[in-house]
């Protein structure tokens, strides 16, 4: 009797002190997200290995990159992530209109990233800095191109989130899909957070 009472009291204290732990999105999605992070981790390592073979060439080449555009794109993606995480909070608190506007803001950031990337690629090609020029530019175009592909998928995901944000009542499954989509967009931000210093600052 006493043990039952004690357990229930201890259990009650625990549940009120700490919120229940929760997997953001569908658990299976995390296999994809971690897989992507590991694949990019291998690419980052490969880039560092190639850099070690010609450090002066990589340092000289990185100084020809558009640092301002790289910095602006980093700040743009960070801001888009803030909009997305705030939109998820708005959806949970049934502030549908606010959630939609926040997702529109995130979409605008995504499109701004793509626009700046196009400007940067165009400038580099006009300057004669193509993938054929040297190992640095080969890896620069491969890594940023793969990331840009993720941005395109992320933009489609944000549009899907926008369609869900307007619905009055989301089921548990749909909410998990919304959270998973948000996590994918944060992954796009996360990968660029490593790519920016690796390409523009460190190499």
């Amino acid at each position: 009797m006493n043990q039952v009472t004690l357990r229930s009291v201890v259990g009650g204290d625990r549940s009120s002190a700490k919120p229940a732990r929760h997997v953001p999105g569908e658990p299976g999605l995390w296999i994809l997200l971690f897989g992507d992070m590991v694949v990019f981790g291998v690419f980052f390592g490969t880039f560092m290995y190639q850099r070690s073979l010609a450090p002066e060439l990589f340092d000289a080449s990185r100084q020809t990159l558009s640092l301002g555009i790289g910095l602006a794109n980093t700040l743009i993606l960070l801001t888009s992530s803030l909009f997305v995480v705030t939109a998820i909070r708005a959806i949970r608190s049934s502030q549908r209109l606010a959630a939609r506007w926040l997702l529109v803001g995130a979409l605008a950031c995504g499109l701004a990233f793509v626009g700046l990337k196009v400007v940067e690629y165009t400038a580099k090609v006009h300057e004669g800095n193509t993938p054929n020029q040297n190992a640095f530019y080969l890896y620069y175009f491969i890594l940023t191109g793969l990331h840009l592909f993720h941005v395109f998928i992320g933009i489609v995901v944000l549009v899907l989130l926008l369609t869900q944000a307007g619905k009055s009542d989301l089921s548990g499954t749909r909410m998990a899909l919304v959270e998973g989509g948000a996590c994918f967009w944060h992954l796009v931000d996360l990968l660029w957070i490593v790519l920016f210093p690796l390409l523009y600052l460190v190499s």
Binding site: M37, G41, L190
Partner: protein, 88 residues
């Protein structure tokens, strides 16, 4: 209504991440090859990755296994990149 949504930990994290980005850019844009500054810049990047995971992806409240895997990824990423920069 929207402004009240920004009164949250994630907004504070965003400010910290923006400041960290600007600091990295300020100290990292001009340095020679083999500089220790590069290791610091990589460390700041992994610090930012960790906070994106914990506060934007909401892994801070995730089951410990999932959170632990992410924390391990951050540690391994920094060790590998900084190690390759310094010793290759």
């Amino acid at each position: 209504m929207t402004l009240s949504l920004f009164r949250a930990r994630s907004t504070v994290v965003w400010v910290v991440l923006v400041v960290a980005t600007l600091v990295s850019w300020a100290v990292g844009s001009e340095h020679g090859t083999g500089s220790a500054i590069a290791v610091v810049v990589l460390g700041v990047a992994v610090f930012k990755v960790r906070y994106v995971g914990l506060d934007f992806m909401e892994l801070r409240q995730a089951p410990l296994l999932l959170r632990g895997m992410f924390e391990c990824y951050c540690v391994v990423l920094w060790c590998v990149l900084a190690g390759m920069y310094l010793w290759l």
